[in-house]
Subunit: 342 residues, 4 copies
């Protein structure tokens, strides 16, 4: 059994780590921290976990985390970067679900996240943990930065074209729709059911932190500068991301469908739908699956539809997938069950 | 034109007063106060009111309200009771949408609202403003306490039986379902779309402030002590209340349908549906209408279904209906448009 | 492995049987029938089951079902009663999720379901499969009638009081709220998102088929005639039932909480919440759990709150729980994972 | 009073015409036809219109429509084109909410709508009724084709750039999100709450009828061929369209905000939000307003956010706006009330 702990466990990604751990045959959560909830039961914060977790939240990791195999950070950005060094020095591996180690460049982090990076010396070591790209790096990684939810959906949509060198030097549009759980479990008025229900709106059109992360990674995959216009929208639902990605190819590609099918033959969590399909977010709800469909709308122009569950493949499920690879387990361990429909 | 102001205008009932005023031919809102929003535009808080209100929120009523015909309090309980006396002394009439003047008994108020009443001497004068009962009192009222949302739906369901003396001395069940806007426009985690969506739960089963208000009024209508078990439930929607009320009659009544139809012949906002009907909350959304259906389920036992919009007939619309009666206008002025479906 | 088949697999209960089977260690679905879908892939009807089921729908059971251990009927009422005899004669056990074998009395069936019963001789043998009551009968049952969704929620709410003889000879109110999936996967206008969204309404107030089933069973548990007013309501959500049950006791009971806790000590899927609780439907979504809270609202009067997932504990999960007991497996096999929140 | 009738009144656009007529000071609906509903009351189909319409549906227009001022067709495509000629010959003007007269080219109609056009000789006369463009043509029009819902949102987003000649010869992306009421009031399984709730999906990515309509009109506005990739998505809500439109300019424009503000100075129903805004669909729910925000995301590249109510500005409200212009009424008559929030 992998002995793990969660730092910052009262939010949605913390809750999902606990839920998924309940169904994972080789993962044991030993402790969950929360400053505000310390001393109360996990089941008091997560009514669905009654009977599945007997833990109480603790103020901080017992014995500084020593003896654990891995620690998950399910904290807001700006927390993990202060605590990771000590854990690594104690021989504990770290999977950070926050943004602290996603950007390669400390300046860039400071600019987008409004604070200097506290551990810039670790940025080079941190593995950007998109398992469909980084599987072999993950095997030996000490510190993993889990991709953001939007960046996961968009990268998986573009990866086959980027890696194959098919992308033109042209603007890419990533029009993304997300459920409100992406905003976290805090009392923000715009996320009330009475505000966000029966409503659609865009936000952050003039600049969103995930924008720079997407460009960083797609640039890396493509080996050329990516120019991506990313527009997030809020949907009247709890979970799910639908990324609609518009890309231009250098030249028409004979069988784009085959390019996708082939790229994702070996990846257990990317499901390329038959030509002509339209994936639905509900089909991946609660699961670690990304479903993709690629449409050639005009010669040399493609629209890729990519759906994930923002809290699973976009966060906690991907974190566990990364952990599986880090510890030599079956990549899919604990992550195999289907969504429930309706 | 009636010159009016709103105290506490950033919440949902304040917003609805502003919306309804925009369509009222004889009502002019001269000022809207808000401590937190003072200096900002109404349209910044209510994106749907762009072009319909050019007001900015102000810290307090200009000139203490002097010169106004009426002031609406759309504040949380505990505010109006401190400010009403001065307004009345200035000759300004007051319509309080909060709970401050609903209970006849100051002790009872103190017990349920956790603070002593600040103006107990006004309780006797305050008119409990259910227009279907209090129309004539409203004509001369200086101070009106608008009924709570649940109490409105439940009273209208029971009124014909209570007034006619048909109710047995037996427990009445009022099982009520409400949209989340009843909880107000504040950042409470349980009201997030990600928490309240796809979910139903009861709350306050062991005691709710509206319980005592309902019993007080039904006792008054019936002329005998009412024993009412009131259970509120939260629905995954923004607006609407569905009250399902179970009552026992002293003896079977020949034509209960006719009792209801007759009682509400003259009331413009209570619509008694044909026998066998099931009213829908959406049919009254945004309107001041209460739709009722009465079912005799066993001899001497009735189930009454009553739907209202909690923010309109349950709050701001009812307040304007009361105002119309206070100022001798057509009772329905500004309140006549149908709901939009879907 | 238990070899099973599903008759009528394109609806929601069929889909849930397939989903739950995917996570069951000892259950193998060998065939799924559907007249309308014969020849097409299960995954074409259930996009969430891509990769989890490779079956195609077939017109009818291969070899008339011979060789199977058990057949699940996920058909509308009126189908199973024509086909069960032949299966039983072939040594195949049957679990019927429809209403065909729920009522003990053939006349009563004919009256409520509008057709004569086709196999009245099997009614006496059929086990009404509420596992919390019928566990030992299930061990040897050849034919199991799965309880309806509402009856499951209401019975579990009343069982401890009924069995202990605490219920007075007084009316019981069962006010029930259900998600729309209870209406099945067919194109009914009132179940459109544009009709059922942002809306609450009652239906069937003058008589609902589940009413007679509830009275039949509560009468049996209590050993005295039960007088139950059952009112179903439609909620703007897909899944979940919240039953709010109002009962009168013969006399005040010292510790009602303990009565519930004790009755459900040994039942893996009934979770009695601490005193003062309000269970939420989302806490059981996708699971086989019933969560209960009991409130004493006045001396000798209780309100019981009971939540289930109508498609799982109210249908397919309960069917698998029954199957586990029929075949001597762990009662909870394949049914242990928690809900996903949000 | 304008004497009008509605052909095909049981759907959502028919219902909205009736609702809006109830608040219009100069519009009287004399008859509503429906084959399936003939003989039943309007209020039986539209529970929100009880008390607002006393009409019964009729099989066909009394006296073939003679004596009416105008007839609205709220029928599926393929109906109006068979009936318009006779009405025009009787001196009755026609406003068609269906697609029959939107496309200028009969071949194109036949290709996209799968049937030959029945009245190609009227195509040249028909006015494409986007009032923000066609106000003067409408004044004398006999036959008006109301724009589709998506085309309305997209055209209004692009109009200022197109008319001013700022659009580059480059692909335009129109990524559109719509509530499910756009699919009409018929029993389609994918539109059930249990299917479309908590779900987002694209559809028609490989070709949608509104695509050709959008290109036809933007080409006309711009005076150059428009190359538009249009992707519709289904949102888990009843009403509203959010169009996110990505366009490239020939060259950077100094003050794009001013271009929009100026273009829409005189149009009562287009509200250009301040720079940096993100319009919300709920802010226009039930109203005839289009709210726009324009963002310059990179030099020479703009993202325009455009929201409408698909059933009002996208259908019935726009039809009445057109009627107002046809009959010399105030363009905004009957269309001035704000949305209700929440």
């Amino acid at each position: 059994m992998i002995k793990a702990a969660i730092v910052g466990g009262t939010g949605y990604t913390g809750g999902e780590l606990l839920r998924l751990a309940a169904g994972h045959p080789q993962l044991s959560i030993e402790a969950v921290t929360s400053r505000q909830a310390a001393g109360t039961a996990v089941a008091d914060w997560f009514p669905h976990l009654r009977g599945h977790s007997t833990l109480d939240f603790v103020e901080s990791l017992p014995d500084g985390g020593r003896g654990l195999d891995v620690v998950f950070f399910a904290t807001p950005h700006g927390t993990a970067m202060h605590q990771v060094r000590a854990l690594l020095d104690s021989g504990v591996r770290v999977i950070d679900l926050s943004a602290d180690f996603r950007l390669r460049d400390a300046q860039c982090f400071a600019q987008w996240y409004g604070q200097p990076h506290a551990a810039p010396e670790l940025l080079a070591e941190a593995v950007y943990g998109l398992p469909e790209v980084a599987a072999s790096d993950l095997a030996t990684a000490r510190l993993v930065a889990c991709p953001g939810c939007y960046p996961t959906a968009v990268q998986l949509a573009l990866l086959p074209l980027a890696e194959a060198g098919y992308l033109a030097q042209a603007p890419i549009i990533a029009d993304c729709k997300s459920g409100v759980s992406g905003a976290g479990r805090s009392g923000k008025i715009p996320m009330l059911l009475a505000e966000a229900g029966e409503n659609v709106k865009a936000y952050g059109v003039d600049g969103h932190r995930h924008s720079v992360e997407i460009e960083q990674e797609v640039t890396r995959h493509a080996g050329q500068a990516a120019d991506i216009t990313f527009t997030p929208h809020l949907m009247p639902m709890a979970r799910g991301i639908h990324a609609t990605v518009y890309a231009t190819l250098k030249a028409p590609v004979a069988d784009v469908q085959a390019v996708y099918a082939q790229r994702y033959t070996e990846t257990p969590f990317v499901d390329v739908l038959p030509a002509g399909s339209h994936p639905e977010t509900r089909s991946v709800r609660g699961t670690n699956v990304c479903r993709l469909a690629v449409h050639v709308t005009r010669p040399g122009r493609v629209t890729v539809l990519s759906v994930i569950d923002n809290l699973v493949k976009g966060a906690s499920g991907q974190a566990i997938q990364a952990m599986n690879l880090m510890f030599g387990l079956d990549e899919a361990a604990g992550l195999t069950l289907p969504a429930a429909l309706p």
